[in-house]
């Protein structure tokens, strides 16, 4: 019953908001004013193509998420009483998200933002019995409030100067004030939104919150909630069109670091969902690179760059929400079957859960940016923008470094997902789980997402022509280009993707045809002459990335513990390795520890004796009475001195 209500609510909200979004994307304008009482005043509800794009992608992920979550949560019978709270939060979260994209009134925007953050918090701590989950939830709660403080600061700044909550007055204010002021204002907003989006170094909440949440919530968080940060940044870029070059370089720099750092740490993770969380940071980095290029392109008056950058960023936002939710949902399937997320314990799941394996493979190929899947299209757009910038030689060195980083990100992602897919689904089982069954009821939304992933990969022009409307908000790039160069390139890319598929089919048919008349036998895996295929001999995830770990040792903090093998006939030994995020240790843990140490000095005040607490009260009252008296006395004294 609860499940059905939740589904109906999400579907209704999606239907209504999608209707508006589709209308806006096809050229209509949408603008409403709601009177929000004395405090809010007139609340402006306006939708442009940017809002529409984000609304549509949110709706798709929210629908697939609730479809998946309905079935997924059936496996948590012990948490039944919490189900209503959970689904209510889901509905509120979805509503807050859609609201966020429509509202153009800063106070209402902040309220919507807070609703989104709080409902996400409740969803994250669904398994509140676990200490880990609670800790992750509180970590998320604190960091999202730092984000909201920064946003409040930015909006208050504009309000004190203009006396208006309307978003339009932000651009009016920026036009009137100098470049420096508007750059600073942008940076305040950017930092606020970057915390939500998970840019390095504001990323530290993601690797805790994503693994702690139930899988459909992780999919929703990684797919759309962190994208609200991207939306915020893109909205602010629209409202503050000055300082393009400076802003572009800042975004590009932060994004390059996020992309490389995220994937670097993703590779070494032992927990599947944590690995995926670090990949979100990487993909946010890629989206950011797109935004950076678009902004720089606008600054350099290069329409191709602007279009390729912004369209790449927006398309990658959609793409990431698709393949990341698919990855989280399929890892949810794995979790349901094995009750574990430790990659090194798995193996050979592909034969027990072939559909999950195939779906995970599609998503893995997509996230690595390989053709003919959707991730390639958006990365290709970003590359196109970069190479166009290089070949028209505008500050070529910066773009060459970006190309370098993007290529490195691609290579590292390949390493990461060959590890994840290969170790989890292929080979022999490394651990005997009880009975592994594939729950087919959870698969439907996964097929839906995989379908769209392939659709974008094979028909990129369809989605790109939709994207021209939001991109054209950023100058004339969108209106010039749709029929020309970039569409032709996309035509070729789609042709090449079809060609690839055709080629694979042809070779495969040929192979079938030739093998029909040949002897096909099965045997054990070649083991250098040994015939026992013990799973102990298999490569593990840790050994797979060992050579890589050796190289990046300076960047991450590795702690190995355990016994060494010394004897000729060794006993069973146990060893563990832990990887720590250096930035997190330096930027979050260090200051927190220092603060705790400082506050610890005042521990003696809280000694648990009632008498003391009464005394504190008395002292407090005394101080609050005496301070004004003292000030008055001082003032009189000063007056007397002045009269002398």
């Amino acid at each position: 019953m609860k499940r059905t209500i939740a589904l109906v609510a999400v579907l209704t909200n999606s239907a209504i908001s999608s209707l508006v979004a589709v209308k806006v994307l096809s050229g209509a304008s949408f603008s409403e004013v709601i009177y929000g009482g004395a405090i809010f005043g007139n609340i402006f509800i306006r939708a442009d193509a940017l809002s529409a794009w984000f609304v549509l992608l949110t709706n798709f992920t929210a629908i697939t998420g609730i479809l998946y979550g309905r079935q997924y949560l059936k496996h948590y019978p012990e948490n039944k009483p919490l189900m209503s709270l959970h689904f209510a939060s889901y509905i509120i979260n979805h509503a807050a998200l859609t609201g966020l994209f429509f509202i153009q009134h800063s106070l209402a925007f902040l309220c919507s933002w807070e609703m989104m953050a709080l409902s996400a918090f409740i969803m994250v701590i669904y398994e509140h019995g676990k200490m880990e989950t609670l800790k992750a939830g509180i970590n998320y709660l604190i960091q999202s409030h730092i984000s909201i403080i920064l946003l409040t600061l930015g909006f208050l700044w504009v309000y004190t100067k203009t006396g208006s909550f309307d978003f339009r007055d932000i651009s009016a204010y920026c036009l009137n004030s100098g470049n420096q002021a508007s750059l600073l204002l942008f940076l305040v907003f950017f930092t606020g939104f970057a915390i939500k989006a998970g840019f390095v170094p504001f990323h530290t909440w993601l690797p805790y919150a994503h693994p702690a949440a139930p899988s459909h919530v992780s999919g929703l968080m990684s797919g759309v909630i962190i994208k609200s940060g991207i939306y915020g940044i893109m909205r602010m870029l629209l409202l503050m069109p000055d300082n393009k070059m400076a802003i572009g370089y800042i975004i590009l720099g932060v994004s390059l670091i996020s992309g490389v750092y995220g994937v670097m740490l993703a590779i070494v993770q032992h927990n599947l969902k944590r690995l995926l969380a670090y990949h979100s940071i990487e993909n946010i980095g890629i989206i950011g690179i797109g935004i950076g290029i678009g902004t720089l392109g606008a600054g350099l008056h290069n329409d191709f760059m602007t279009f390729a950058g912004y369209a790449g960023a927006l398309l990658h936002t959609l793409n990431h929400s698709l393949f990341k939710s698919l990855l989280f949902f399929t890892s949810g399937n794995v979790y349901l079957a094995t009750h574990s997320l430790m990659i090194d314990r798995m193996g050979g799941l592909g034969r027990k859960m072939p559909r999950t394996a195939a779906l995970f493979l599609v998503a893995a190929l997509a996230i690595c940016g390989l053709p003919p899947f959707n991730g390639f299209i958006s990365e290709f757009l970003i590359y196109s923008g970069l190479f166009d910038a290089i070949s028209s030689n505008q500050s070529a060195l910066v773009f060459a470094i970006s190309v370098f980083s993007l290529a490195l990100i691609g290579g590292l992602a390949l390493l990461c997902f060959t590890k994840a897919f290969g170790i989890i689904f292929l080979g022999n089982p490394r651990h005997s789980f009880h009975e592994i069954r594939e729950d087919k009821s959870v698969l439907f939304p996964n097929y839906l997402i995989a379908g769209v992933i392939i659709l974008i990969g094979l028909f990129p022009r369809l989605f790109l022509s939709v994207l021209t409307t939001p991109v054209s908000l950023y100058g004339n790039a969108g209106s010039i280009l749709p029929d020309s160069q970039i569409m032709q390139i996309m035509q070729h890319v789609s042709l090449a993707s079809w060609g690839l598929i055709l080629m694979i089919i042809v070779v495969y048919r040929l192979r079938k045809w030739i093998q029909k008349h040949r002897v096909i036998a099965t045997g054990p895996t070649w083991g250098c002459g040994y015939e026992t295929d013990s799973p102990k001999l298999q490569y593990t995830a840790s050994s797979f990335v060992k050579p890589y770990v050796k190289i990046i040792k300076p960047v991450i903090d590795i702690q190995d513990s355990g016994d060494e093998i010394n004897d000729i006939v060794p006993n069973a030994v146990h060893s563990e390795s832990h990887f720590h995020d250096r930035l997190e240790m330096k930027l979050i843990d260090g200051p927190t520890k220092a603060l705790r140490g400082f506050l610890g000095r005042f521990k003696f005040l809280q000694n648990g004796r009632v008498q003391f607490y009464v005394l504190y009260g008395v002292v407090f009252i005394g101080i609050s009475i005496t301070i004004p008296l003292v000030i008055d006395a001082l003032r009189t004294l000063v007056n007397i001195i002045k009269q002398l």
Binding site: L397, L408, L426, G523, P547
Partner: protein
């Protein structure tokens, strides 16, 4: 179309040239030039043994591998004659489509559940990841130099520049030779003729492949060599000249490339595995140097 035909033609004898030149350098007569191809044909005609651990991934991987290489060949131009497919930024597709094939080969190796193949897969994944940026920076340098961002555009315009572009072309060919060596896991990164599984990369990944699949993989190596040879040849083709002029140049470059690999394999020792990353990363630095060189030539370096 022309480049596709030429590359396939070259692939028939390329490995033969390497083996022949290695034999001659070590004082033997060596097999015929077409012997490796005949071996591949024999593989293609035999039956197969599949490990009972493997799944559909293992069955489809060699097919995807060869298809991606064939797809990549379609982008290679011949002088100023475009490849079958050509568009701005086509080398991004080129690199990523090759990566797709590699992805499948790596997971197919993990599919067998063998400790050796996992090891080979791990090494291949790492080394191909490390070489990726070098390729992109190199292509970026030529995009900057010529103002085009497609294979055909770059190679069509390359020779109209200054004499420095020939120098850069020579340096770039050097990097491409090494990329080809690394991508195909040859010396000094890997020795395909070693018989110790523990020290191999690519060869150890395909221990379990047999019959048609093994034939496809082996032929894939030939094609990949011919593919990189064709890219290198493009640096030396002179656009505008007649085919009877450029086709011999093309074959001369390919044969030289084969002989160079033979020489390298005869005289260079294989690196210790843990030195490979440094060696491979060096080529990223060299391509970065080429990039700076281009910036210098164009007067963009302040």
């Amino acid at each position: 179309m022309l480049s596709l035909l030429l590359i396939i033609l070259t692939s028939f004898f390329f490995t033969g040239i390497i083996i022949r030149s290695k034999s001659i350098l070590s004082g033997r007569k060596g097999p015929r030039i077409f012997q490796p191809m005949l071996d591949i044909f024999r593989c293609l005609r035999t039956g197969s043994v599949y490990s009972k651990t493997t799944s559909f991934v293992f069955q489809i991987a060699p097919t995807v591998y060869i298809a991606t290489i064939l797809m990549a060949i379609l982008f290679i131009p011949f002088g100023n004659k475009q490849g079958i497919l050509s568009f701005n930024g086509d080398f991004v597709f080129f690199a990523y489509v090759l990566a797709l094939g590699k992805f499948f080969m790596i997971i197919a190796a993990l599919d067998t559940g063998s400790s050796f193949e996992g090891m080979g897969a791990s090494r291949e994944a790492l080394y191909s990841m490390l070489i990726e940026p070098a390729f992109f920076i190199l292509m970026g340098s030529f995009a900057l130099l010529t103002g085009y961002s497609s294979f055909a555009g770059i190679f069509g315009a390359l020779h109209y520049g200054s004499y420095v572009s020939y120098g850069l072309g020579a340096l770039a060919s050097f990097v491409f030779v090494t990329i080809a060596l690394i991508e195909n896991s040859r010396m000094p990164v890997d020795d395909p003729k070693t018989h110790l599984e523990l020290t191999m990369i690519h060869e150890v990944m395909i221990l379990d492949n047999s019959g048609f699949d093994l034939g496809l993989i082996l032929y894939g190596t030939n094609l990949k060599f011919a593919l990189y040879g064709a890219i290198i040849a493009n640096f030396f083709l002179t656009p505008g000249y007649q085919l009877y002029y450029s086709i011999p140049i093309y074959f001369a470059v390919q044969v030289t490339f084969g002989i160079v690999i033979g020489i390298v394999e005869s005289f260079a020792a294989r690196f210790r595995m843990n030195h490979n990353p440094q060696f491979i990363l060096m080529f990223t630095s060299i391509s970065m140097l080429i990039f700076l060189g281009v910036l210098l030539v164009m007067g963009k370096l302040i």
